[in-house]
Symmetry: none
């Protein structure tokens, strides 16, 4: 088609892929990120290869200030540049004297993204200053930070509505920013009401009228965030803002991976490091584990259903040529084609996974089929092995060698949690009893903790380390609970993922059950078993 | 803007809004509809006022055959027309002799939507017939059904890919259908790889080359299903297919409500009965109850977060003029603006939130400041009030009236979870003891459950309902656990959100603590307290 451009016309250096998951994405209802969450997300985004990572608004709240302080010390980004977000100076104050501007200057970020009003009504009604002072605020703040050696991007808030209401003023904000040294003027559809053809027309007109380098920041209120972003790029924008998994206030921001995949695979542009999107599915899911927002199965490119086909009409033709029924090769975004009723689906993955773990299943189709069936039926119950490699390896050993390694026999466990009086937080206590047999000894041990799983973990390790001293070096570094099948109240199935470390290696195990404590117990037992095997301790059997 | 057309240029009769939730939507992974489900969905769609409802494929499976049989007897549609879906006749068979064509004829539906191949490769590789025979199949089947008095729409499968590979043939399929009497040729982006500008170009070219009335059927694989549909309509299509809540295979079909709301509210077209979209949010949620797919909070127009505002920055301006921060009046789609109380919120948000709850804080700055400080410090501990309106209201009452309403005094609670033997999943039991005083009686009650919180919930409600019978009507409908501060193992802080319903209203409460059971207890106590107050039960104090 005539409108498909030649491939590779831009290099990643020319085009800004700018992630705002940790700032605008965190505006999503119910999404709260700790400082440690943010550091982990930043590492994932760096691995994905996005150009810029907006870390937050230093100075506006203690958490974001702490993030930037830790980021300069701990965050060793290889591919991405960290950006600090903040507002232009307050009205009537010199930029150098505004403490929030100082916080941006001192953030350690080489890029500052300033938000400025570009809609006249917002200047007057929300900011309560004059149109002229707002322009001075843009000019002064950009100049000041440029003078301090920082690169500056300017987010023009409510730009599209502003352009429709008072075009001259909206354009003047862009011009003022560019003249003061802002590298990009990012046109924000803050309220999200735009459609693609309007975005295309306006971006083209602004580019024409100002000559400034333009960016796009779109929200999904009309279901068009991705299309609006693409339309802006086609009209000349060379800076694209979005969030992983489309997180964001109201209906969310433009889904960054979907936008970038469209630019790369549909428009033949080169905006990411070569092959980087092959990690997109994994990283999208890893970040959803951190936000604890279950990933949407229907998410474009990275959803688990994105390349899933129900059998029937299509099945035989898919075997002839999968390209007849899919718009691209899912491997390009690290996803897989799945045939929902076909047994073929999981085997290749499991064979590959086995190979990763040093277990070759290619010559043993019967075992491969058995493992595949078992994984499928366990996933039906709520297990997930994507993250829980250690539990998967134990399952594989069980099927290949006939039994999983066993280091102890379980007699019983019990947990008691109680509170006396209408105690406020912190009044409740938990105590666990674990009875096991190991190394010929019967061990009955109690553990205490501030919660039931904590107590159970203490009791189990106190017992086992009497026989296997290696266990004293194991400690839990992460513990995640997800309620599956929400809508069934406290009756629903619970999935627990536990990450354990011995100070050198780390491994993840999984447990599932109606009882959250029982699910945790399952994951704790797997964690200890896997760890002892890793330490080459000889099992009982 | 010049591209916004004059309003009301089309009447609903001219434009086809065509729902395929029950046929193409049902291809979604995990979505299964019974015949009764389908009848209920059809009634909802009729109430919403869509023009056409595709009921399924009669003759292809017993369920769809039964649906059409029941529909002619039981379904009294007032606004919508029922359509039956099916394929063109098989190769080498007369249309009149094909039993599947006969099933369409006998379905009782006045409209038949036939699917036909329009991509040459699919004719040859999937259908395994000649290009000429495929055209004959289209011509014969359309003519036959027209002769039987039915209206016929033709879905041109894989049209866009077909057009790019063999334009002449794709156009010939459209021409053949139109000449045989098909009312609309629906261009289907079956694999979902299109972008809006391509759709616009191709629809315009097909309209020009064939003169046929055109429709659009889009999938969301590039995240552009809505934008592609709108682009097609702007290029001349006057028939739009989609699914409620964007259900469908892989990444789903175009979300019908979002498309139609864009046409009505953004492009000023008149494609639905006057005011019909005021029921859109309710009907979208009602259908999600039937499909058992929880509605997405971020869904455009109808999501519970679609008009929810979090940022404190915005809240003061929202008070001045809500239109500054929302792209339209949410009442037009039956939704509401909501203000979220969060760490970013300042006093303005809390004042507005109080007003929403009927508590005016504007004249009491000291209380307002105290509530704001308390919310901030509780959020620091891990609480979130964004979702937990009921807990927030109790907190507000406590600050405004000096104490929260109290219906019972807590003496103690205890939970025991235990498992004997190396039981596999399901072996563990949980039992809770709750001792409270209410209505002058000391109540000591045990509750059992399949997990600790489930047991505690049972015990608490068994005790309280002896004094307050209303509690028997409360039940938990959602239970979410989030481990905060991950990276601290089982030692981390846990946040629990509980949603409770009395069959009419629903409310959300929150609890936080190192002990997950204690956090749940806090949320359970809030849930019962809020519910009793809602039922206007007089508290102890």
């Amino acid at each position: 088609m005539s409108s498909i451009p030649a491939s590779g016309t831009l290099t990643p250096g020319d085009f800004h892929v700018y992630d705002t998951t940790m700032r605008d994405g965190a505006q999503q209802e119910g999404l709260n990120l700790s400082v440690q969450d943010k550091l982990t997300i930043a590492r994932h985004l760096d691995e994905l290869g996005v150009g810029y990572i907006e870390g937050g608004w230093p100075g506006s709240n203690p958490k974001d200030t702490e993030f930037f302080a830790l980021a300069s010390k701990e965050l060793d980004l290889r591919r991405s540049t960290l950006a600090a977000f903040g507002a232009t100076r307050r009205a009537g104050v010199a930029a150098a004297d505004d403490p929030l501007v100082a916080a941006l200057r001192d953030s350690g970020a080489s890029v500052v993204t300033l938000v400025a009003k570009s809609h006249d009504r917002h200047v007057e009604l929300a900011l309560r200053t004059t149109l002229a002072e707002n322009l001075a605020m843009v000019r002064d703040t950009v100049s000041h930070l440029r003078g301090e050696g920082q690169r500056v991007f300017l987010d023009c808030e409510h730009f599209f509505n502003g352009f429709l209401d008072n075009k001259a003023y909206a354009l003047e904000v862009v011009r003022t920013a560019a003249e003061a040294g802002a590298e990009v003027a990012v046109l924000c559809d803050t309220n999200g009401g735009m459609l693609p053809h309007w975005v295309a027309d306006i971006v083209a007109e602004v580019a024409d009228a100002t000559g400034a380098r333009l960016g796009i920041h779109a929200h999904n209120d009309t279901g068009c965030a991705v299309a609006n972003s693409i339309a802006a790029v086609q009209a000349g924008a060379t800076h694209l803002q979005g969030c992983i998994n489309g997180y964001g206030e109201r209906t969310g921001n433009a889904d960054l991976v979907t936008c970038v995949a469209n630019l790369e695979f549909k428009l033949g542009m080169n905006v990411m490091p070569e092959g980087a999107l092959r990690d997109a599915t994994r990283i999208s899911h890893a970040i959803s584990e951190i936000t604890n927002y279950p990933p949407s199965a229907r998410q474009p490119y990275t959803g688990v259903s994105a390349f899933a086909h129900k059998a029937g009409l299509h099945a035989s033709a898919i075997r002839v040529d999968p390209d007849l029924y899919q718009h691209m090769d899912p491997a390009l975004v690290g996803n897989d084609m799945r045939l929902l009723v076909s047994e073929m689906a999981g085997r290749a993955t499991i064979e590959l996974k086995g190979r990763e773990l040093g277990i070759d299943l290619s010559g043993d189709p019967a075992t491969l089929a058995r493992v595949t069936d078992r994984v499928k039926s366990m996933e039906q119950e709520g297990y997930t092995f994507e993250a829980a490699d250690a539990s998967f390896e134990l399952l594989l050993l069980e099927e290949v060698e006939g039994a999983r390694p066993t280091y102890f026999d379980i007699e019983s466990w019990r947990v008691i949690a109680e509170s006396v009086g209408s105690a406020s937080a912190g009044g409740a206590l938990a105590e666990a009893t674990v009875k096991i047999t190991a190394g010929g000894r019967r061990l009955a041990v109690i553990g205490e903790g501030n919660g039931p799983v904590n107590a159970l973990d203490h009791a189990l390790r106190l017992a086992i380390e009497q026989v296997y001293p290696d266990v004293a070096r194991f400690h839990l570094i992460d513990f995640r609970v997800r309620i599956l099948d929400q809508g069934h109240g406290t009756d629903a199935v619970t999935r627990v993922l536990i990450e354990t470390s011995d100070g050198k290696d780390a491994w993840v195990t999984v447990g599932v059950g109606a009882n959250m404590i029982e699910a945790s117990w399952e994951a704790l037992v797997d964690a200890v078993t896997y760890g002892l095997r890793l330490h080459q301790v000889t099992p009982l059997r």
